[in-house]
Amino acid sequence: MSSSRTRPAARRTARVLGLASAGLGVAMLRDPKGVARVSGVDDSATALSVIPLVGARELLHALPLLAGRPGWAWTRVAGDAVDLTAMGVALSHRGGERGRRLRTATAAVAGLAALDLLTAARSRRAGSRSAARELLPSSAPWKSAIDVSAAATVNRPPQEVHARWHDFSRLPEFMAHVREVRPAGIGRWHWVAEAPGRRTVEWVAEVVEESPGERIRWRSLPGADVENAGVVEFRPAPGDQGTEVRVRLAYAQPGGKAGKAVAKLFGEAPDQQVRDDLARFKQILETGQVVRSEGTPEGPLARRMAKQQPAVPRS
């Protein structure tokens, strides 16, 4: 089973590509002669009939891209490759000013193609990311898992960074969706996390491994609302730059409604949420505070990014 969900970054790039496609497409349909002139192929009758077709193609894949479906970037890559080949053929026959203009157009298409490739490749990778889920307890049946990971370099020594994480009861100070973590016996912690719709989910987790200055591993005990596990690793950063912190979390996702609820818990951007948690962790250790702006008063927060407040003081 996989945790395949499209990365929001890929989705956003997809939209930009969609806009570019739409723009180019409209231009090609409305003014093929103009496009031919700018591209340096205005001496060819075939070009004039091909350009509106290419324009239609651009518009065709503009639509799914605008809807944020990056997989469709692959159709663009194919399209760009066709353009490049067509232009390559044209190039070998042309010189002078026309050739110069054509070379310019080829360079522009090549640029777009590179971006298309990048988006398509990222949408692929999102589906096959490595899992941290060997940590998950196998007690409950689960269909798939959400794996999230993040890394940051914190400009403090490993012992100090470890000590700050080790204090589980203070995790809510930088973990945005965790409301409370309280002791529940030796090496055990009771977690309360926020879920959508003002609900909370709870679980007790046990620390399964702790090596000071190196690593902490924990996982939920049977009876958890959501089965989950986590590892955080601390390594000295090269060149006296503090500590490399790497976090991996896995949340079991049962089938049906419960599964949907787990997915919702993380909203649109599970990776971003963990990165934000880690950013806040870094800020606390390096600067003693969570950094706030009037646009983002809570400090780094994935769901706030889409819903920024204007940069104006609140009364």
């Binding site: 723009g23 370099t153 400009n155 702006s293 009037e294 983002t296 780094p300």
Partner: protein, 390 residues
Amino acid sequence: MRATQWMGKNHVEVNEVPDPRLLNDRDAIVKVTSTAICGSDLHLYDGFIPTMKKGDILGHEFMGEVVEVGRGVSNLRVGDRVVVPFPIACGACNACERGLFSVCENSNPNAGMAEKLWGHSPCGIFGYSHLVGGYPGGQAEYARVPFADVGPFKVEDDLTDEQVLFLTDIFPTGYMGAEMCDISPGDVVAVWGAGPVGLFAVASAKMLGAERVVAIDRFGYRLDKAREAGATDVLNYEEVDVLDALNELTAGRGPDGCIDAVGLEATHPTTAVDAYDRAKTAVMAETERPHALREAIMACRSGGTVSVIGVYGGLMDKFPVGSLMNRSLTVRTGQAHVHRYLKPLYEKIRDGEIDPTFLISHTLPLDRAPEGYRMFRDKEDDCTKVVLKP
């Protein structure tokens, strides 16, 4: 308080808004006495920088009097007179420790947004979109200054606001632009753009010992200012072919250092070329009009340095990477690391080595900010730099 708000493309208003409050222990509140409009503000005004929200308070060049300090700020007192660097920097991360304040790793709470567009995030900046933090700016009566124990620089000598205001941004920016050229005796430095940033780059290149400094712009009155700032030669790019002229001037070598002080809204004298990038930016197929940068690369002497202080936002077309690679060019860039230049440049002003007031063309009350924006953008009334008084 009164504050200059971005209300949409080409639309700013001065309105009544709530006074700022401390949000963190290391904050201070500054009562603004002078603030300026920057070429960077024009990129927001003209709608080139994404993630602006209606109502955002503008302005990143400001100074004034400390009226409130958080518990964590021990080096400032109420009543201190300070200039505030435009990059917000924590002073404690790896970047800050290496003096790279404008890429502070902690000061942008919206780093996630910037990472999507740029891979990694730079610092937070006052009044400069949500991509770099969503911080209200200083074209207002009051401003909250985060990490007030790191940024603000105390002015204790008897100098006017006008003399020290540009330490907030454009003097350090121009200076860094020149410094990045590693100028050695005999060097020729060319500066694209004779706006406030370009003018300080010209003056700084001169200070750092350039043999000749060439200023390039299309406005005669700005080129005159460039001569005042120390340019030995000026080129009007609407009248001469810049590449030919620079080759003539340097006997075919090309300038050793080429400074782009124009940024993403450059114009091009050839209508077709200008139209190409205007069309591509209009349909979002690129985000820049990088004429000056392309030209700076083509012009630069083989083995020379291209120093980019003009601002760019996203993706450009037709980047002459072949010229860059095959001719051993070095590209250096950055939002200015203002903090590290405050003291040395302040001393140059205090000791009379430079008088930064020469570029102020207009001083207006804050309420007339909308007019200031329009004049500065349209280069009306020989406008070079607008200072606003709240």
